[in-house]
Symmetry: C2
Subunit: 255 residues, 2 copies
């Protein structure tokens, strides 16, 4: 891929594992992936893959294990609530061959929160794979779980986002991927050769082409991504000039 900044600069990578029958049944539209993707980029970490798996111990364990082997960081969302269908903690513990224990801080937190209304079911939310740390949850109290480079987050977007805020600046990363866009009212197929030439002339950036149809007209946004601001600028300018030379009016930014 074209976003490797240089041979000597490390690129940090991540995967997201979205856990939930409700996503795979189409009941719920996932909203966490796009948020986590943007959040990771601000931390200087590239999201390289995402997987969606059901609330199933084997499926969760398999996806998490494979992603841990392939990427620097892995984030899961979903399945850490108090009900029987929340099996993320036991699935991950089993996959990593760790016992499930009750985290004393999480237990204290839940006992404070629920008082006399504490139940075994509510204490399920204190269960962690042995050796885990807690990730604060500013929204509802029940914490997320960190196990080294694995982050086990809630599935409800507002809670997921609160947990991520608590992790800001804590993960080692590299330089964020910068992006800029050029928009034009043209069919992408009309400018495909021009785009390919610009990409070939600027191998250190990535150029993506995203067509759209709006108000009966055909347009496309071209998104340029790079680590170096000067390289990004050079590729944006080159693309704008190439489009202008072909008689196509282009604006900077997405249409």
């Amino acid at each position: 891929m074209a976003d490797e900044p240089s041979a000597s600069e490390r690129v940090w990578t991540a995967a997201v594992v979205v856990i939930g029958d409700e996503i795979l049944s189409g009941r719920t539209q996932d909203q966490n992936l796009a948020f986590i993707a943007r959040w990771l980029n601000l931390q200087g970490i590239r999201l390289r893959e995402a997987r969606v798996v059901p609330d199933d111990v084997a499926a969760i364990g398999g996806a998490v294990t494979e992603c841990l082997a392939a990427y620097d960081y892995v984030f899961t969302t979903g399945g850490i609530g108090p009900t029987h269908d929340d099996v993320t903690v036991e699935a991950i513990a089993a996959a990593l061959k760790l016992p499930v224990v009750r985290h004393p801080e999480a237990e204290a937190m839940l006992r404070r929160h629920y008082g006399e209304r504490i139940t075994e079911a509510r204490l399920r939310m204190a269960r962690v794979p042995e050796g885990a740390q807690l990730i604060p949850n500013p929204e509802t109290g029940a914490p997320g779980i960190r196990l080294g480079r694995l982050f086990i987050l809630a599935g409800v977007p507002k809670i997921t986002q609160g947990m991520l805020r608590g992790l800001e600046g804590q993960l080692e990363g590299g330089r964020p991927l910068l992006s800029a866009a050029v928009g034009a009212w043209t069919a992408e197929s009309r400018v495909a050769d021009l785009l390919a030439r610009t990409q070939a002339d600027h191998p250190e950036v990535q150029i993506g082409s995203y067509p759209f149809w709006r108000d009966g007209r055909t347009g496309a946004n071209f998104v340029i991504r790079a680590v170096e601001p000067a390289r990004l600028r050079a590729a944006v300018d080159a693309l704008k000039h190439a489009l202008a030379a072909d008689g196509i009016e282009a604006v900077e930014g997405e249409l």
Copy 2:
């Protein structure tokens, strides 16, 4: 998983591979997964996994190969347009060790559509792995691609949906998973034991619990899924009775 209808009844499964840097960068919110999930269920096919991978030949090839090995059907979205970043066809052909050829029908279709404005770039949209059939695209002409139990679809939701309409009734499947919901203004943690008991009493259904917070109140929707209408009905009734016995007012349907 609990949705196996019986030992003698085959369950058909599928995976979706979403292809696109724009999804992994957070620029674009995927809209295809939820649509395909619901569409598959109407065909009697269970979506068991989804993956999101970048516009990268190795990543696409790896995901498609692994999913073909694990599921009955695989659907990809994205990366079949005319521009340099559309590499899905070559990635899949390389992974399956097939040559890339120009499909004569697709070529004829594109030549009719573009007339004198046909270019090599536009003819890229006629490229298929050898042996493939075309999937009609009622929106913009450039077809999708079927290779046995692999379906290579466009990424723009309106086009993806048009291609799926053309496939309706053509895929062998089993019985759709039915679903019903019970909604209640209660914390899911308050009824976790009751839910677990209902699930244990009705092992042939799946019960999912989805909490929400709205207007300062806590609620939860409980979604029950089953193949047999009578089993679905029995589990819904049992859950409603259990909630009522616990003094919790519940409605049928999602709140």
